[in-house]
Amino acid sequence: MGKRMICISCPKGCELILEVNNEKLTSVKGNDCKRGEMFARSEVENPTRVLTSVVTIRKAKSKLLPVISAEPLPKQKIEEAIKEMRNIVVDAPVREGEIIKDDLAGTGIKLLAARSLKKIG
């Protein structure tokens, strides 16, 4: 019996059927491209997701700065990473792509600013 899931690599949303043995992927069907296979393997062996949220920013016209993890984060670290982000406060100016935090939830993955905000006042 295969496990069914939808590939999230692109908006197409292929429906995958995964065959799993001993927590290893043995086969995948339903994917239209190679990314589907990579996604299936990662889902079985180490599921990851890109995490986006907001952090507090001072001296900018907005109160919040959108942020994004530089790489997909192990799924089980997402809630811990979100909690860490609640305590982050940065000051404008900020450039898109600037590192906001070096190590998210002990994963070694960086958190980046997702937009530029000028300093005001």
């Binding site: 999230i8 949303g13 890109v50 959108p66 997702a114 937009r115």
Partner: protein
């Protein structure tokens, strides 16, 4: 009163307006970009989730990142940007606008590109019975409160409708500590993209109830709960299936409508199918020199296509200004079998542009189909597709060679048939 003469005026600085302004600027025209809010980027600035730009940038950006690319480009140009500026009307191709610094402005452009985007359907448009408590809002409003204002709109949420914004908000609210009790969808299928069901609902064990809807809201001042019920095949609630759910937030994700008050008041012919202006291959409306781009024309689901449509409109506007607009009468492009809506709706055989995209939606989900563009018995372009779904817009590129096969002004039909 301040007066301004310009080649191209773009109304709205979301993804469509930014792309249109940049393309017109690249082609050497003077451009003014008019935006009613105090920020560039439009709705992208509150869409902090990733998944934007896969076609254009070959990576998954968040909304603000996608916008930032265009804003950085804009900052390198001489495009005039008018923020906090509301366009009141367009009369005889003259734009009347108002802002706090200039007061009333009169702008005399050679061409106008409408890029006002779309807005969300509200509770009034889905007719929910009950009281009028606070705590009932659209998914976009909840998104704005959480991602821009830093406010949590409730503690226990129910989502009505399974459009993409609703699914994205289910995950967002969950991660911000709101108890997301479920997503209720009146149709038997999901409104948004399949991948959003996976990464926003299944990932976080948020239940999805199809063929179920909210029939009543209750609560005096603030929302206290909603009543849901299953519906039959004609979408009528089935008596005896009602269930009450205690919640203080009802989030509506029940569809988007192109925002066309300005277009209608300007006298532009509208399409009852797309709810946007009737457009030709250059995205020109029924009023010569006025073009439309992005969600004001048809509701897209990928921002990449919004940008494409905007660049196409900008090139059309430049051809118009340079006197290169088509002169021949157009042929109609019609929706055929299993096609619910499309743009453009008209094609001129003396169109001088390059490739042409037809953007369309399927009426129902079908597997292994053939997408066909025909004129009479002549097959102009066909493409095999493994699957078509109403939620996923199809972009079909017609090359110059394809376009050369179009003759006279007999209507062109786009249809999706069995392979």
């Amino acid at each position: 009163m301040k007066r301004m003469e310009i080649d191209v005026a773009v109304i709205g600085a979301g993804p469509a307006g930014l792309a249109a302004a940049l393309e017109a600027d690249r082609m050497g025209k003077s451009v003014v970009l008019i935006e009613r809010s105090d920020d560039l980027g439009g709705i992208l600035q509150q869409c902090i989730h990733d998944g934007f730009g896969l076609h254009r940038f070959k990576k998954q950006l968040s909304g603000p990142q996608y916008a930032q690319y265009f804003i950085d480009e804009l900052n390198k140009t001489d495009i005039s940007v008018l923020l906090n500026t509301t366009v009141l009307s367009i009369e005889q191709k003259v734009i009347h606008a108002v802002n706090p610094t200039d007061g009333v402005l009169k702008i005399f452009p050679k061409a106008i590109i409408l890029a006002m985007g779309c807005r969300e359907r509200t509770r009034n448009q889905v007719l929910i019975y009950g009281t009028r408590p606070s705590g009932v809002m659209t998914a976009g409003a909840a998104q704005r409160l959480i991602n821009l204002e830093g406010l949590l709109p409730g503690k226990r949420a129910v989502i009505l409708g399974s459009g993409d914004v609703g699914l994205i908000m289910a995950r967002r609210m969950y991660l911000e500590g709101i108890d997301v009790l479920g997503v209720y969808e009146i149709m038997p299928n999901v409104g948004g993209l399949a991948r959003n069901v996976q990464q926003c609902l299944i990932d976080y064990n948020i239940p999805l109830h199809l063929s179920t809807t909210v029939v009543e809201v209750y609560g005096k001042e603030t929302l206290e709960g909603v009543r849901v019920a299953k519906v039959d095949s004609s979408l009528k609630p089935i008596p005896g299936t009602e269930e009450d759910i205690e919640c203080d937030l009802l989030v509506l994700s029940v569809g988007l409508i192109p925002e066309n008050e300005l277009s209608k008041n300007a006298g532009i012919q509208m399409s009852p199918v797309t709810l946007g202006p009737v457009l030709d291959e250059s995205m020109m409306t029924s009023l010569p020199g006025i073009f439309a781009a992005g969600n004001v024309a048809i509701v897209f689901d990928l921002v990449d296509y919004v940008s494409l449509s905007a660049e196409s409109a900008a090139r059309g506007a430049v051809r118009y200004i340079d006197g290169n607009s088509p002169k021949e009468p157009p042929c109609d492009i019609k929706t055929g079998e299993n096609v619910s809506s499309l743009i453009p709706m008209k094609y001129h055989i003396d169109y001088k542009g390059e490739d042409l995209y037809i953007f369309l939606r399927a009426r129902e989900e079908k597997h292994d189909v053939r997408l066909c563009v025909t004129q009479g018995d002549n097959m102009i372009r066909q493409k095999l597709l493994p699957v078509v779904r109403p939620a996923e817009m199809i972009a079909l590129k017609l090359s110059r060679d394809d376009l050369c096969q179009i003759t006279g002004n007999m209507p062109i039909t786009v249809s999706i048939i069995n392979k």
